[in-house]
């Protein structure tokens, strides 16, 4: 294989890892609450800024920033649950109202960040400096390795959390049937808060990891959010396994399209690809028959 091809496969896998983390959060929320969280991209951006603040003003290692970013944005997620989800729960027009409200949240947070940090782009130092070369001359930085490791670790951690722990099982039960879970003694309100928190935290972590590639600015979350949404749909809304497969497929596809056609065509090709997939399989790769349930 030629070096550019290997290079783009490497970057495709990296993109896939980050999409998987972002889309995982969206899937979690959609699966449990049937809610499209359009403030996800902003939480991604805020994560980056938290890490940047920690690295620049406190002079601490970006890894500390990563953990802090998860923590801070976790609480923003809890706040979103309080302000948006709880009052709207069980009322008519849930789907549309949550979309509008989370859009509102994203506008507010984005402009608060703009007022606080200004529009100038910031750059975050990589987690680990340095790089190594593969035998055929392809360069992989240690930061990229860290990204892949953190992504895989959080995905594995996520699946263990969902299938092995008490709270994880409660989340699954709530996703399957909210009322039955409630009757079984699950505190649904608390579970929703947990879901919002964890999924926001995941968005923040991917924001921190990606910030070393792209420059940070208050509008940086828009495109990753759109791609994460495409991944979520492609994987079948609410299906965790499908999301991971879809994330790597779309990451690789994007890298290959960028290599052969140019970066500009990545989104259009993904869009056409999505449409074809949705026509052939209207509920995505591992769709759970959402068509009828929505």
């Amino acid at each position: 294989m030629s070096a550019p091809l290997v290079q783009s496969i490497v970057s495709g896998l990296l993109l896939g890892s980050i999409y998987a983390m972002m889309a995982m959060g969206l899937t979690l929320i959609y699966g449990a609450l049937r809610m499209l969280n359009l403030s996800h991209g902003v939480l991604f951006m805020i994560g980056g800024y938290v890490a940047w603040t920690v690295a620049t003003y406190l002079g601490l290692h970006p890894l500390v920033g990563l953990i802090l970013a998860f923590g801070v944005v976790f609480f923003i997620g809890l706040a979103i649950q309080r302000v948006v989800v709880r009052p709207l729960l069980g009322k008519s027009g849930w789907e549309i109202n949550t979309i509008v409200a989370t859009l509102g949240v994203s506008i507010v947070l984005e402009n608060v960040m703009l007022l606080t940090f200004g529009a100038r782009q910031k750059s975050l130092p990589p987690m680990v400096e340095g790089s190594f070369a593969l035998p055929n001359g392809v360069v992989v930085t240690y930061h990229e390795l860290v990204i892949a490791l953190v992504a895989v670790a959080s995905l594995v951690g996520m699946s263990i959390f969902l299938s092995r722990t008490r709270h994880g099982l409660a989340i699954q039960a709530t996703a399957q049937n909210r009322d039955a879970a409630h009757l079984m003694g699950v505190n649904v309100d608390q579970i929703f808060a947990l879901i919002l928190g964890v999924s926001s935290g995941l968005a923040a972590v991917s924001g921190v990891l990606l910030a070393a590639f792209y420059f940070l600015s208050p509008t940086v979350g828009g495109v990753p959010q759109l791609k994460a949404l495409l991944v979520t749909i492609f994987g079948g809304l609410g299906s965790a396994k499908g999301t991971i497969y879809a994330a790597y497929t779309i990451g690789l596809l994007e890298a290959l399209v960028s290599l052969y056609l140019g970066a500009k065509w990545a989104l259009p090709v993904l869009f056409v690809f999505m449409i074809v997939v949705l026509i052939v399989r209207p509920s995505g790769l591992f769709g759970l028959g959402e068509e009828t349930r929505l």
């Binding site: 789907e95 509008v100 507010v108 007022l115 759109l226 749909i233 869009f271 068509e291």
Partner: protein
């Protein structure tokens, strides 16, 4: 079940409307004669433009319940098509405007064919993706055909400038007013027609509507196309009026602004988008110098309305009005 917003469109609201609209219309007609301030007139022209677009969007989103985010993309397609035809082929803007509208219809059908078979969130995402792609493709266009990120300049006008500056702005004012009124009227008629009832039936209970013989797909394409035609027409007017069109009409901020107008006013109602547009254009004028503050307020308004008054301010005002009348009746 027919929900409250549609009642306002078909029943009770009519009595109040019978007075409100002619008075408002008359005020709008005499405004440029009694107060010919170019700054205010330009602001009102912009309000007319967004009222038309919002009414079209509301037909799709509120009345038919299709959560499409492609409205500004259709607006841009109308504007770009008309501007490019007039610029490169030298066709008069009167003709290219309609071609712009037709181009928007064509685009809406192309987008609608794959997306409208799907539901809810899928439509949101695919239409959002369509919008983003159009923005990226125009913004990075190197061929010079669309003007790339800077947009098209020196778009031909309707030719009113030969009568002087003042006549030009008066002309544009009345043109925008007629275009906007025509759009609002056409959409009002569509909503009241059997087709409009079919849209509302599909929104409120798709299963039942299908059982009564309404083809969801065909009607959704139809509503998409109707709304696209007027949106494209207004987009074309926008390009020829400002003499320029650029990818900035596809900015996310503008989309949010328009959506906030509909949401704050009350989507699915007839007066909602109009009230919302007027309120938010006024708000953005007042807070012109502090853009971020304006946007924060906008976002807060969206959250507040979505969480507390999902039917919008029109409903709140209508309720207040009814209570006031009841109170008046009671005290007599």
């Amino acid at each position: 079940m027919i929900r409250a917003p549609s009642q306002e469109m078909t029943g009770q609201g009519q009595r109040a409307m019978a007075w409100t609209w002619p008075v408002l219309g008359l005020a709008m007609i005499i405004l440029p004669i009694v107060y010919p301030n170019p700054y205010i007139l330009r602001l009102v022209i912009l309000t007319f433009i967004w009222i038309g677009v919002n009414q079209c969007w509301n037909l799709v989103m509120g009345v038919a319940g299709i959560f499409s985010l492609a409205q500004l993309a259709l607006f841009a397609i109308g504007g770009y098509t008309s501007a490019m035809l007039a610029l490169y082929l030298g066709l008069p803007p009167w003709i290219t405007m309609f071609l712009g509208g037709l181009a928007a219809v064509l685009a809406s059908v192309v987008v609608g064919l794959p997306t409208l078979r799907l539901r809810g969130v899928y439509v949101v995402l695919l239409t959002l993706a369509f919008h983003e792609i159009l923005r990226v493709l125009i913004g990075t266009d190197q061929t010079g055909l669309t003007g790339g990120a800077f947009g098209l300049y020196n778009v031909p006008t309707f030719g009113a400038e030969v009568f002087g500056k003042r006549a030009e702005i008066m002309f544009h004012y009345y043109f925008a007013m007629i275009l906007s009124a025509l759009t609002v009227w056409a959409i009002y008629r569509v909503t009241l027609s059997p087709i409009g009832l079919a849209f509302q039936a599909l929104r409120d209970s798709e299963g039942y509507a299908v059982a009564r013989g309404i083809s969801p797909f065909r009607y959704r394409i139809l509503v998409f196309a109707i709304s696209a035609f007027f949106t494209g027409l207004i987009g074309a007017f926008y390009a020829h009026y400002l003499r320029t069109i650029s990818p900035s009409v596809l900015s996310f901020g503008l989309m949010m602004n328009l959506m906030a107008m509909i949401v704050v006013g009350g989507w699915g109602t007839f007066g909602g988008p109009i009230l919302g547009t007027v309120l938010l254009v006024a708000l953005s004028e007042v807070l012109h110098s502090v853009e971020q503050l304006r946007l924060i307020l906008l976002g807060l308004a969206m959250i507040l309305v979505a969480v507390l008054f999902p039917s919008g301010l029109v409903k709140v005002f209508a309720d207040l009005g009814r209570r006031f009348r009841q109170w008046m009746d009671g005290s007599e």
